[in-house]
Symmetry: C2
Subunit: 446 residues, 2 copies
């Protein structure tokens, strides 16, 4: 290093890495320190000004005395939400939030905010009154609310917990393409892309590719990628672009193997959130209740809930099942298993003993579907038959069927919607709130 | 659990989770076991057949005796690459590869391969003779080569190593959108999407969004997302879709803070690969050499290498710098710093003392650029000036400039190409080889 310094005269430090966050300050009481953050509020009290400084870990009160002329004048001209570095003595002060405060010696303005903010910042109740679409227009200000930052900490920890299990179970991560050559899986709900002199489409799921990885002998793969759905939906759980977490596993006996793994993921994810963020979430225990679809319909009927959905549940039915499962098993999670083959995609494996049923499942969490999974049909000849049975043309799936002709292990997997899991963990109103920058029919910005 | 079983009669096991991989078998010598995998070869030796079985961890020899009539006949009819489960006694055998073999009792055919394979599988030298485009057409067979599986294990471990550092340094992961409303950053190199009754574009980078996260006070974020470039490139290092790893950090003093963090990521990533895969890669030490751009051009001149690229390097120059750095510092990595502002994007921060230069850098690894990074200009008024200076219209960037009007910390970050890192670690010919399913001007399948 000294050699490099001598030749090029470059400085080298770890300033940013050793920066002090507000939630670490209790270790530095009695010392002269610097903290960086946003000016949450400035309060005037005659000969003293109080700056409440906010960083991504908390709040600290900074006291500016009149005797410090320069800083005092500066503090008077600071608009809320300006970004500053404040240096001074950190001392205990029982009156202050958190029990200590900084006696400001120097204030450095790193970025001055405009006087007028387009939406209120970090004042929960007022923000909730602002129309959602206006909040989303100013999403970067909306997200300054520490409660909203927490959404993304939860998401980060959840993913970390998932990855621990993937790692323990020898999974490989793959990145599957978003640009696909044909729109076979979906038809009209696919976005079309101008691709040089032809057309491409945006992937709705990594389904075919993760199955291809099984045919390649990758054995266990996981994926975290954006997926795209061109459905003109206006619900609280649909977006046109969303993050999907997939995994696929070889050499399973049935879809129950897949559920076993998903349980491990969720338990690890929620445990990780508790460890990192101290949220005190209830950690589920395995196995989660598993109720066959036909059984679930009977239970609903016995509770006087009916719907015209033969192959699926209405939102009302989903809520009622959640209630039943909570009462009966004290569980927020329930696998609904063995849906009718007629209600699932052609590549789902049928039950040998009852081919009306498929080896499929959904996972409901507090009454909302967060996962769809199944064992897949891995035999090329049976696949072709199932394609025809669905009224589709096997010719359209020729390339896909090829994957299964040169040896392919039995396999299955799931697609998981982390945006929905985070929404349910934090009891948010919509997946728009759990998405950093949601995209829907109307919204492509910021 | 027993409750659930009683009600719904569901079975529950961890069969797939406790499955034995070939590289774990030494723990089970003398036991009756099952292994699953692909039939690599079947060798006939009179009264004995040898099946060499392959899973994603290695190879095991399975012996089938003539006395086991059923299995013996079955083994005779097995085409290579079929998928089987073989059960039998695992015993030591010095002649066998690995030092033990399975005396097959039962062979279960899970998936029979066609007799003819469209490309040779798992026979390195022959595969390398097959035209790349044909290999890519049959990518799922191409990837059955254990050396190719290793590419994705390296990638997975590299990411794991990066994430450890992100975690230690309190980073938050965000998922930024691929669908964007305007094509401001890039112009003609952007893919256009039919988006209901209007147009959308595919993101070329998460640049604006990660800066937005800084304006939101997220402080430190990382991103792992696909990015899209509609350039008609035919090089070994360009794809139309590729995975990009980005991070962005607030409250930096200069671009050197960003380099400090990137060094930690790479050291951790390469260490993780060594730990997981025992590849014995040389782990770099921090700091990596940092050579200002002007200095690098002088060095090249002194070595009689010239190019007409005033603001950048030609591939020949990059290779020569790599040579120089290897000779002088024994390093495979080198940061080239302080490029001319004229050669960098408008949002790059200029040097206060010499505004011709920018606080930017590229990272070269064995002579190939794997990263572009910089401190960003975080002051709205200066940004506007820099946009005009580049001959662009500030009006087109109105929404972006808004991010900086209500307080924004000084910040910087990088975009990293993991496909290129993996290519260089394993000395592959092209990023196509390090991508699971590469996409280029001509290729949208499989």
């Amino acid at each position: 290093m000294s050699k490099i310094d001598k030749i090029h005269g470059l400085y080298y430090n770890f300033n940013v890495i050793s920066r002090k966050y507000i939630n670490e300050l209790s270790n530095f009481i009695g010392q002269n320190i610097s903290v960086c953050g946003f000016v949450n509020t400035v309060r005037n009290q005659g000969g003293i000004k109080f700056i409440l400084l906010r960083d991504n870990t908390g709040f600290i009160q900074c006291v500016v005395l009149k005797s410090n002329t320069e800083a005092f004048e500066l503090a008077g001209n600071l608009f809320n939400e300006s970004v500053v570095r404040i240096t001074g003595l950190l001392k205990e002060e029982k009156q202050a939030p958190g029990g200590f405060e900084i006696l400001a010696e120097e204030i450095e303005v790193l970025s001055l905010s405009d006087a007028e903010l387009p939406i209120p910042v970090n004042q929960d109740k007022i923000i909730d009154d602002v129309e959602v679409s206006k909040r989303m227009d100013y999403r970067w200000l909306d997200l300054r609310d520490p409660e909203k930052l927490k959404i993304f900490r939860v998401w980060t920890s959840l993913e970390e917990g998932f990855r621990k299990v993937y790692r323990d179970l020898n999974f490989i991560q793959i990145y599957t393409p978003s640009l696909v050559g044909t729109a076979t899986e979906g038809g009209s709900e696919v976005f079309e892309v101008k691709y040089f002199d032809r057309k491409a489409y945006l992937a709705q799921s990594p389904q075919f590719y993760k199955q291809m990885a099984m045919a390649s002998g990758f054995d266990r793969v996981f994926i975290s990628n954006p997926m795209f759905r061109a459905e003109p939906s206006y619900t609280t759980r649909h977006l046109t672009e969303f993050t999907m977490w997939d995994f696929e596993v070889s050499f399973i006996d049935s879809h129950h193997d897949v559920m076993d793994i998903e349980e491990k993921l969720l338990i690890s994810g929620i445990t990780q959130i508790n460890n990192d963020l101290n949220l005190g979430l209830e950690v589920p225990t395995a196995p989660f209740p598993r109720i066959p679809f036909e059984e679930a319909k009977k239970i609903l009927k016995s509770r006087a809930i009916n719907s015209d959905k033969e192959n699926d549940f209405s939102p009302e039915e989903e809520r009622e099942i959640a209630k039943y499962v909570k009462e009966t098993f004290n569980s927020d999670f329930v696998f609904i298993t063995d849906y009718y083959f007629s209600g699932r995609p052609f590549y789902t494996k049928k039950h040998e003993e009852n081919p009306k049923l498929s080896k499929s499942f959904d996972l409901l969490y507090k009454g909302i579907e967060i996962t769809s999974g199944a064992q897949r049909e891995h035999r090329a000849d049976v696949l072709e038959k199932q394609i025809s049975e669905k009224g589709l043309n096997p010719e359209d799936f020729k390339d896909y069927i090829e994957f299964f002709k040169y040896g392919c292990p039995p396999h299955g997997g799931v697609g998981i919607g982390p945006g929905r899991i985070v929404m349910q963990i934090l009891n948010l109103n919509s997946v728009k709130e759990s998405s950093f920058l949601p995209r829907d029919v109307k919204r492509l910005n910021p």
